[in-house]
Symmetry: C2
Subunit: 69 residues, 2 copies
């Protein structure tokens, strides 16, 4: 299991809801947290790569990048 962190620009509950929906629908995600306050998304997965998950988040149309540790 690997944990990945992303910075995602989300302005309202509709924005964070869209990211939540995308991660709910993404196969291979074991656990995730979307924080509108922190503008952060944390995802745990045993099978997906950092890039796979970033791609799924960006498909919602949100500006997203891998968070600096």
């Amino acid at each position: 299991m690997t944990q990945y962190k992303y910075d995602v620009t989300m302005s309202c509950g509709g924005c964070s809801g869209a990211v939540t929906k995308a991660l709910n629908n993404l196969e291979g995600v074991d656990k995730f947290d979307v924080s509108l306050e922190a503008q952060k998304v944390t995802v745990e997965s045993a099978t997906l790569s950092e890039a796979d998950i970033l791609d799924a988040i960006q498909k919602t149309g949100k500006k997203a990048k891998v968070a600096e540790q």
Copy 2:
């Protein structure tokens, strides 16, 4: 050229921006308008079906349906 209309739930500029980005990236779209105030999206295309466009909008994670005329 056919014009399609959709009801899309968008709560803020980030939401409507995400839909705008998705339609900008969708090949076959000739013209479109995203209205946050009206919660409406209008798309003109010569090649895409009503369902193709609805699918692209829904991929942003927004609640969307074909508008009743």
